[in-house]
């Protein structure tokens, strides 16, 4: 019986395979313009040396090595996915496309399909070649019920239409709906899935929980100590090691992740030299913890690296379904009484920069003309008075004619933000506004925001590489729960622009519309911008070496060992490691180094 059911499953699968991937049924269109890229600058350093072990920490041991299915969305997932190559990658500095598993690509005229010429040398980590059918199998795999990943099931059914195999090294991937040129590849550049490895998918979740799946990237897991550590080893004969954009990258021989359950203890390990680097972006780490003999003696260096990547849309989201926020005067008044600069300058050490636009860091898509409303109590006062909140009560908080106090509950879910809100609360008192801080568990706070129960929400969303508006500002998503329109914006002008933006295919047109949309969002004032963190800061032992520009526009210094688009730029200088360790024993010193790299810093005046 069991055998029969397995047979059936296999049959069903084969059937679905044929339906999603028509094998050489059609011919390639004649007029394809094949593109490739070897013109963009290389961002790795020719001085890189191979060898050494990079030691990282993990807060908890992963619950699985799968990258789909239950428990797979943990902090270890990037390490697994970072070694799965896509058809093409994006250059992290120029944003042009780069060859990866495909050497050439071409677009269809209807903006739904891309064609790829596959690199014939591509190999899985078990030595088997990467076949065209492995791409078609990705659809079967991602659509199958066995992986227990409903989001992926839906995405690969509704967004990706099909993979067509023309010959062994030529395929095409299409989306169900046309996408703008500059976005199409991000939907279409899928990763292959090793069909030979997943031959039997029954009981997928349990069977493949701890199986090491073949990959195409530079490293593969070589050792697992359950509950303690996971080690990746560099593939000595990685098929892509001499390709232009992968040369001199992925230099360390081994990358070991050890479980250290507490950040403070992790920091102590780092100071002892048992971890090679540590992220010190938070002011507390950068200014206070990252001081002392190891830093003064030059054993550990510090790096402040500015990036130019899309920033999360952090702000104060005012729910316009609440009667108070229906009045634009109140919204504008609150923006003018928002003394975030005081928080930044006097509590956060001025490390952050004021956010002006809901979509900052999106390159040309960002409308840099928009400036956040400045802190000005007189202006705030005028707007409050206009809205009918002239009088102040005994406690200095404004009251309207109906005797209602101007008290605003602010929902938030991050304990680390309490200090900022506490200072803002005191500042808002000056304007005659009472903020009531509603700190909830982060999941619970987001749930209440999704259900639109909030008055004001202190939070933000991390988006994709291109700005999106429909989910957050279209009236179709207003006044209902489980949508991202947290301000309940219901504005016909915005709706028209969003519809135009979604159907526009030309980049120029989209940029123009994005700018107009950002301006309209600013004018409505239901979203008050907070602060941006356009940088990453790390501390690292001096034997870690970086290229002249230690990172890329999109990411911080490439202390991430794997990411195929921007990781693996650093290397370990073993000689220097020996010298440093003996110097520390003997007490000899080096010059302390704090490096600030502003290559990608964006200056907003």
């Amino acid at each position: 019986m069991k055998k029969l059911s397995i047979c059936l499953v296999t049959l069903l699968w084969a059937a679905s395979l044929f339906s999603s991937a028509s094998l050489a049924a059609t011919n390639l269109p004649d007029n394809l313009l094949w593109l490739t890229n070897d013109q963009d600058p290389v961002y790795a350093s020719p001085n890189a040396i191979k060898g050494g072990t990079l030691r990282n920490m993990l807060i908890s041991f992963p619950l699985t090595l799968r990258y789909v299915g239950p428990d797979s969305n943990g902090s270890f997932r990037p390490a697994v996915l970072g070694n799965q190559m896509s058809l093409i990658e994006e250059h992290p500095n120029t944003h042009n496309l780069l060859p990866a598993l495909a050497t050439h690509w071409a677009y269809s005229d209807d903006n739904t399909t891309m064609y790829f010429k596959l690199n014939p040398h591509a190999k899985w980590s078990d030595g088997k070649p990467v076949k065209a059918s492995d791409y078609a199998f990705t659809l079967t795999f991602m659509r199958s019920k066995e992986i227990v990943a409903p989001w992926y099931n839906t995405y690969y059914k509704k967004q990706i239409k099909e993979v067509i195999i023309y010959d062994e090294h030529t395929i095409s991937v299409s989306t169900t709906k046309p996408k703008p040129r500059d976005e199409l590849h991000s939907h279409i550049s899928i990763t292959p899935t090793p069909q030979h490895f997943y031959a039997d998918m029954s009981n997928f979740v349990r069977k493949f929980n701890w199986k090491i799946a073949p990959n195409t990237g530079a490293y593969q897991i070589s050792k697992i100590k359950k509950g303690k550590s996971i080690t990746f080893s560099r593939k000595k004969n990685w098929w892509a090691k001499d390709l232009k954009y992968y040369k001199n990258r992925f230099n360390v021989d081994k990358v070991r992740y050890s479980v250290i359950r507490d950040l403070n203890i992790g920091w102590e390990y780092f100071l002892k030299g048992k971890l090679d680097s540590f992220v010190t972006t938070l002011p507390l780490y950068w200014h206070k913890k990252a001081t002392g003999p190891e830093f003064d003696n030059g054993y550990i260096h510090k790096l402040w690296f500015y990036t130019d990547a899309p920033m999360p849309s952090v702000g104060l989201w005012l729910n316009q379904d609440k009667p108070l926020f229906k009045d634009i005067n109140i919204r504008l008044a609150l923006a003018h009484a928002f003394n975030i600069e005081k928080v930044n300058q006097q509590v956060l050490r001025g490390d952050y920069s004021r956010k002006h636009n809901i979509h900052s860091g999106f390159g040309k898509y960002t409308n840099t003309k928009i400036k956040a409303r400045e802190y000005n109590l007189d202006k705030a006062d005028k707007y409050f008075n206009k809205a009918g909140w002239e009088k102040r009560g005994r406690d200095g908080i404004r009251v309207n004619k109906a005797g209602q106090r101007l008290s605003i509950p602010v929902t938030y879910g991050n304990e680390a933000h309490t200090p900022r809100l506490v200072v803002l609360k005191e500042e808002y008192k000056k304007a005659g506004v009472e903020l009531v801080l509603r700190k909830m568990d982060s999941a619970a706070s987001f749930k209440s925001v999704l259900e639109k129960k909030h008055d004001a929400w202190w939070g933000g969303l991390i988006g994709g590489r291109k700005p999106q508006y429909w989910g957050q500002f279209h009236s179709e998503n207003a006044h209902k729960s489980q949508t991202n329109n947290f301000t309940n914006t219901d504005d016909s002008k915005i709706d028209t622009m969003i519809d135009a933006y979604r159907s526009a295919m030309k980049t120029d047109e989209r940029i123009k519309l994005a700018h107009a949309l950002q301006q309209r969002i600013h004018d409505l004032g239901a979203w008050i911008p907070r602060l941006d963190t356009p940088y990453i800061r790390i501390a690292y032992w001096q034997w870690i070496q970086f290229p002249d520009v230690p990172g890329t526009r999109m990411g911080g210094p490439a202390i991430s060992a794997f990411d195929l688009s921007q990781g693996g730029l650093f290397w370990i200088d073993k000689k220097l490691k020996k010298t440093t360790l003996t110097a520390r024993k003997k007490g000899t010193t080096f010059t302390p180094v704090t490096r600030i790299d502003e290559t990608f810093k964006v200056n907003i005046q």
Binding site: V347, R392, G393, R394, D395, K430, G432, R438
Partner: protein
């Protein structure tokens, strides 16, 4: 004076007074609690008294006085510390500030340095500031007031429930007793901390809801003791006599049995008081207590333990906690001595 203390009670008080460390702790403790009721006079950003252009102002308990009243250029609440500096060159006007001129909420930030600031007499931050520039002494004192009144209210309500149920169990016995014993056994196996965590994740706890949640699990302890003593007392002749006279159940329990078990209750009070303070502090420490920015010891403790290099935060709260809890323990010890039934019995 028509109110005459029972000679036995007088004897107990006498004995309590003779245990000196307990007695002095009691006086000191009462004094601190009383003083904390008037914390606004001692610790406040509002001035006690302002004499401006011939008129007198007493801002402490009144409405907000906007800066414009004192010739300043803003309409929000006057910053009296700055007003004091402003008045310094002026002989006509003067201002009297409280000994600690900060409230527990305001951020006293500087442009040249970043909080936490160490203790400084010059800035009147006698115990320094916390990580967002709030005065540690002010937060300590207001936090104490919150904690002690929280604990007192919790004590009263949980004793009301615990004593009534315990006494009823002992008095009625039988099925009622059996049923409640099982209920309590099951109830006490519910992990208290998880319940708190779940509740505070779906709603924002306030002073009263926190008391209610802790009460939900706090009444159990006393019931066992009350049940046992009531069982013992129930069998005595005076109870039978009262019943024979036709007294109702509640009259027998509350007028006859309860006064004879009072020594047990009183003995537990100081320890319950201490545990109430500890409960609130630990909940605040874990972030499940009163919402920010309520001044609280637990919040200070968690700030202190995250900023061990700013020793003044953690040391002030630990020293205060130790002093208060030791005092309470001394009082408890003295009460237990004074009420020891081995020396005084109220039945013949």
């Amino acid at each position: 004076m028509h109110f005459q203390l029972n000679p036995l009670t007088q004897k107990k008080i006498q004995r309590f007074k003779s245990i000196r460390r307990g007695y002095y702790s009691f006086i000191l403790f009462t004094l601190i609690v009383l003083l904390s009721c008037f914390a606004e006079i001692l610790v406040n950003s509002r001035a006690l008294l302002v004499h401006y252009e011939g008129s007198w102002h007493f801002p402490t308990y009144g409405a907000v006085i906007p800066g414009k009243v004192f010739g300043l250029d803003y309409s929000y609440e006057t910053n009296y510390r700055e007003l004091e500096k402003h008045f310094n060159n002026d002989s006509k006007n003067f201002i009297i500030m409280p000994p600690i001129p900060f409230n527990a909420y305001e951020n006293d930030l500087k442009t040249s340095a970043f909080p936490p600031f160490p203790p400084s007499f010059k800035d009147s931050h006698y115990l320094g500031t916390d990580t967002i520039g709030r005065d540690v002494a002010a937060r300590l004192i207001y936090g104490f007031r919150t904690a002690i009144f929280f604990s007192l209210i919790l004590l009263v309500v949980s004793y009301l429930v615990g004593v009534s149920i315990g006494a009823a169990m002992g008095y009625f016995g039988g099925l009622f007793d059996l049923l409640f014993q099982r209920i309590i056994e099951i109830w006490s196996n519910i992990p208290f901390l998880y319940v708190i965590m779940i509740v505070s994740s779906i709603m924002i706890p306030n002073f009263l809801t926190l008391i209610a949640i802790i009460l939900l699990f706090g009444w159990i302890q006393l019931t066992w003791y009350m049940r046992t003593v009531t069982y013992k007392e129930k069998a005595r002749e005076y109870v039978m006599a009262a019943k024979a006279l036709g007294a109702s159940h509640s009259r027998v329990i509350f007028y006859h049995i309860l006064p004879n078990t009072i020594s047990i209750i009183i003995t537990f009070i100081p320890f319950s008081l201490a545990s109430g303070i500890i409960a609130l502090t630990s909940l605040d420490f874990l972030g499940f207590g009163l919402p920010a920015p309520t001044p609280s010891w637990g919040e200070l403790l968690s700030q202190g333990s995250n900023n061990l290099e700013s020793l003044w935060i953690v040391s002030s709260v630990i020293v205060s906690m130790t002093v208060i809890l030791v005092m309470v323990a001394f009082i408890g010890e003295a009460i237990r001595e004074a009420f020891d039934p081995k020396q005084h019995t109220t039945y013949e």
